[in-house]
Structure formats: C-alpha cells, structure tokens
Symmetry: C2
Subunit: 313 residues, 2 copies
C-alpha cells in the first residue's frame, strides 16, 4: 500500500482529489498566484556578510528567524547580538561534512581569550526546546489549520509533522518543535544543562540530523546563500573544526535587515503553507508525476517538503 | 510513545536488553573487535582521481560498488567503462546544492560531440531497479538475518528497512531496493524508458532524495573523499550545471582498485551489519545516551544509520 506522510494529508482536499497534477513541484511553485505568497518582515531577517572568496566574489547569507512561540529566548538574544554588531570580525570555525557549518567566536572555549558577550542576554531553559501544542497560553493549537494526530506516523522522530505558517514542525505527546532539516540554523551549546546563548550558531549542510531535535534550540533557517557555507572546505580536526586560523572565513558583519538602509533590505516571501498551491506542491513532492519519474514514492519525509522561499526584487 | 525504526529492531536482543549502552556511536564503532569488520574486495572499489585543487592538494574519491543481486547490469557496465579508462579526461559537470554532484561526459547530450562509449555495454531494464525479496533465484530473503515485515512502518518511502551485508535497503510488496542516502552513487539517465548506461554518475550531497528510489539505479557509495565533491562550488545553471567549461573539475582517472599495482590498492573494511557492535551502534544512533544529549529520539531514519567504513593501512 502506498502511504501519505502525515504532513501531506492535507492533499486529500476536494480540489486535489479530482485529477492528479502532473507538473513538477518547481512548476507548481512558479505558477502560484501572488496572493499565496507571504512577505517575510525585514525584522525577521539576519544578513550575514562573509569576506569575499578567493576570486573576490561577494558572499552573503540570509537567515529567517523562527517566529513565536518557538525558541524566542534565543531569538531575542540573537537580535541583541546582531544589534551589538557582536559577530563582526569573528569567523566560520567548523565545517563538518554531511553535518553542520558553525560560526561565532573561535576562542569561545577559552575564558581568557573569549570575546565578551553583550549584557542582557537571557539564559534560556531546556524546556523551551518544545512548545505545548494544546492550551491557549503559548500553545499553537489554535493556529494550526489542521490536526493530523489521527494519522499513522511515518516519521521515525515524532508522531506528527506539520507545515505551519511557513515552517516545518514535529509533534508528540502534546508538544511541538522545529525540525533539523537542511539549512536550519541552531544554537551551539556546551554540555547540558547549558542551552547556549545564541552567540555560536550552526546550519545543517547534510542529511537532517533529527537526533538533535529537542536537544538543541533551532532559531531559523538559511533562505539564501547557503552555498557559501555548504561548499566551504571541510575542517580536518575532530567535529570539522579548522586546524589553522587562516582557514576560517571571516565574518564581515551580521545585521538584522531592518537595521540596514531601506534600499539595502532584501525582500523575501514564502509560499503560504496554507495555500492551495502549497498543497499541490507537497503532493507533487511525495508523488512525482512529471515525465522523468516512473514510480511516485507515495510519501515524503518532512525534510523533503521544504517551504518554498523566493526573493522579491 | 517512543518508537524504534524498523531497521533498529534488532536491538531488542537479549544482550542489549540488559542495560543501555551510554557510549556515543563513534565510541562503539571504535571499540568493535577486529572480527566484526569485513574486508571490501579491491575488485569492488572504484578509485576516482581528480585534478589537484588550487593549492595543489590531491583529490581522490573512493567508491564501493553495490553487491549482487542489486543493480548488476549497471555495475557490470561501470566495470567495463573503468577497464576502458573511459572517464579519463572527462569532468565533474554538475554540482547542485542539497542534491547531487554529477560527473561524466560534459558533451553527452550532443551526439556530434559526445565521447563514444566502449562496446558491449548492457541496456538494463527498469525492472532491475528492484529485486524480488522472496524466492530462491535472485531473491534476497535467504540472506537476510531478520525479517521486519511485521513492524510498523516509520519510513515514508517503504514499508520496511534493513541493514543487509553492509548496505541499506528498503522494501515493499515483496521487493527490495537500495536507498538514496547521503554519499550513494547513482546512474544519470535520460527520460524513461532510458535507464542510463553507467557512464554518467552522480553522488548524493544533501538530504536523502528518496523520491529517486526505484526511479534511478544506485550502483554504490562513496566511502572516502566525498568532501572533494560535496565542497565544490555549486553550478549556476539549472540543475547545478557549470556555466563555463573551466569550472569543471577534470577527472584524471577512474580505475577499479584491483587494476592498480598491489601497493596502491586502498584497503577498506565495513562493520558487519550482522554484528553485535553494529546493533549497539544502530541503537545508539536512535537513542543518544552520551552526555551531550538530554532526550534520546527513540528512533532514527534509515539514512541516519550509515554503515561504518574504515580504511585499513
């Protein structure tokens, strides 16, 4: 029996039941009407400018921060760190193949050498790794368009998956949490109960390391320029740290886009995960009917249904 | 309820039931006794030597070919192509972020310019993408140590997963097939019913594109040097093809290791997927109990339980 992943069950809407859409996922996204796209506020965008590459090409990476109610303690810290220009002059310190690229203070482990953090950063509790699914105070139940708790689980890491307001969530036992898919940005930390301040960040550049879910805070995702991170030379020390200081790519600056002059603020939109086009796109990701394919899979894991994001110029 | 992925149910052996192993997966693998490692024959290794990088560093990628009964029509072609030194002087032509790196003849699409293939290559049928699970002639049933058909599915792409003789398989409806995990090597092809000759190859350098399973032949996996592919600059044309010929990394040679002088033959072993250490390793991948983790996932998707491979010098 071919099965649908829980996240894809919204496909069973009348509009879709009529006849299968044979377009490729990219074609469905390209044809989505303007009204199905949602603008991402400049205040939710973090613009990381790296030193140019060896050929002088610019390298800019844009990150979208997680919305409430997820990870807001760390997201608040990151806003403060960006406002303090704290990352400027620091570097990318770790590139581990099929895992993560990490940036921040290369001397963070050395108390004598570590760069002083700005004042007022929150110390966030481990309990903030998840959010109560039910309940009116801080829960996300009311904001979900559909509840798939009655579906068979096909995610090895949770009992339920959702696309929710442009993000991917997993849930179990009344809690929901963001998911370590490719391009997601998380908070480096020491041994528990430390949860990290947000000063040391990483992004996923390999197969989704889902075992990190609920063990590390996720604070956003790279929406443009991830190739400037994923194509960096791998570090040769344990965990992919670079052996020599000169191998580290310098960070010129990290800014909230809302702090940039208006003309320099990048503008992005995501495809509403509650839209008809998104439902068709998700269905097509799980059931490729375009001419290259001979056998639709009949399902998709949640990280293989990323939320489409586009630059608006 | 925390669940085990089907591939991990061999953990429910008496030895493991006694007390949880709190070591990290890497520690379990490092401590595995010599008798649990299986030598990979030189005749199953493909050694791809790329041109040195800009700093003159050598770049060698080693691929282990799929064993019978999987994909043997294409694997046979690849042996012939390597014996004919067909790839020598060709190049890496496509690097698509979070997807694949592809190599072969940059002019393959142009009949007038394409490099002539060696004679005697098989034209392989689409039916060879899978193998009958049951049956004495070509089936794999007798060689599986355990059958998990009775388990709840947690794979969105199949009803069953296995680790089998050092490889990852998925199965459904009496058939089994290899899986598009990170580092797997597949056969580029044109539109169906073409299945590709094996002359155009790719490897996965992102989240497992499982929708390609049973739609494209998988012929092996990169076991060393994947960083020489995954860290290449991404191509800027559609599908990640390079815009300029000079961006393509030249292939110096691709050889079966068994054709190399004995002293130059690389030696590798994999951790027997039927061993006690592998069972402990797989359990630890699904249930991280080492000190960094606060909450074991209780499961793992099959691509997050890669088979350990080591170089023996």
């Amino acid at each position: 029996m071919l099965r649908l992943a829980p996240a894809l069950t919204l496909l069973a809407t009348p509009a879709l039941a009529q006849e299968p859409d044979r377009r490729a996922p990219s074609e469905i996204v390209a044809a989505a009407p303007a009204g199905e796209w949602v603008a991402i506020p400049a205040s939710d965008l973090l613009v990381m400018t790296l030193a140019p590459d060896r050929d002088g090409n610019p390298r800019v990476v844009t990150i979208q921060l997680m919305p409430p109610p997820f990870s807001q303690g760390w997201v608040g810290n990151i806003r403060k760190l960006a406002a303090a220009h704290w990352w400027d002059g620091l570097s990318i310190n770790r590139v581990q193949d099929n895992y993560v690229v990490q940036w921040g203070d290369a001397n963070a482990e050395d108390k004598a050498e570590a760069k002083v953090l700005p004042p007022g950063l929150a110390r966030v509790a481990q309990s903030e790794y998840t959010v109560p699914f039910y309940g009116s105070d801080g829960g996300i139940e009311d904001t979900l368009q559909y509840d798939r708790e009655d579906r068979q689980p096909v995610d090895a890491y949770s009992s339920t998956n959702w696309h929710w307001r442009g993000w991917i969530l997993a849930g179990q036992r009344g809690n929901a949490w963001p998911v370590h898919c490719y391009g997601m940005v998380g908070v480096g930390r020491d041994m528990p109960p430390d949860t990290g301040s947000g000063a040391e960040l990483y992004t996923v550049v390999g197969h989704a390391p889902r075992h990190l879910d609920r063990n590390i805070a996720l604070v956003g995702r790279v929406i443009e320029g991830i190739e400037h991170l994923s194509s960096l030379p791998r570090g040769t020390l344990p965990l992919g740290f670079y052996a020599k200081a000169e191998q580290r790519v310098p960070i010129v600056s990290i800014r909230l886009a809302s702090e940039l002059p208006a003309a320099q603020q990048p503008k992005f939109e995501y495809l509403s995960t509650e839209s008809d086009s998104f439902a068709r796109y998700a269905d097509a990701r799980a059931n490729r009917r375009d001419p290259f394919f001979i056998l639709p899979a009949g399902g998709a894991d949640i990280c293989n249904v990323p939320v489409p994001v586009r630059r608006v110029d």
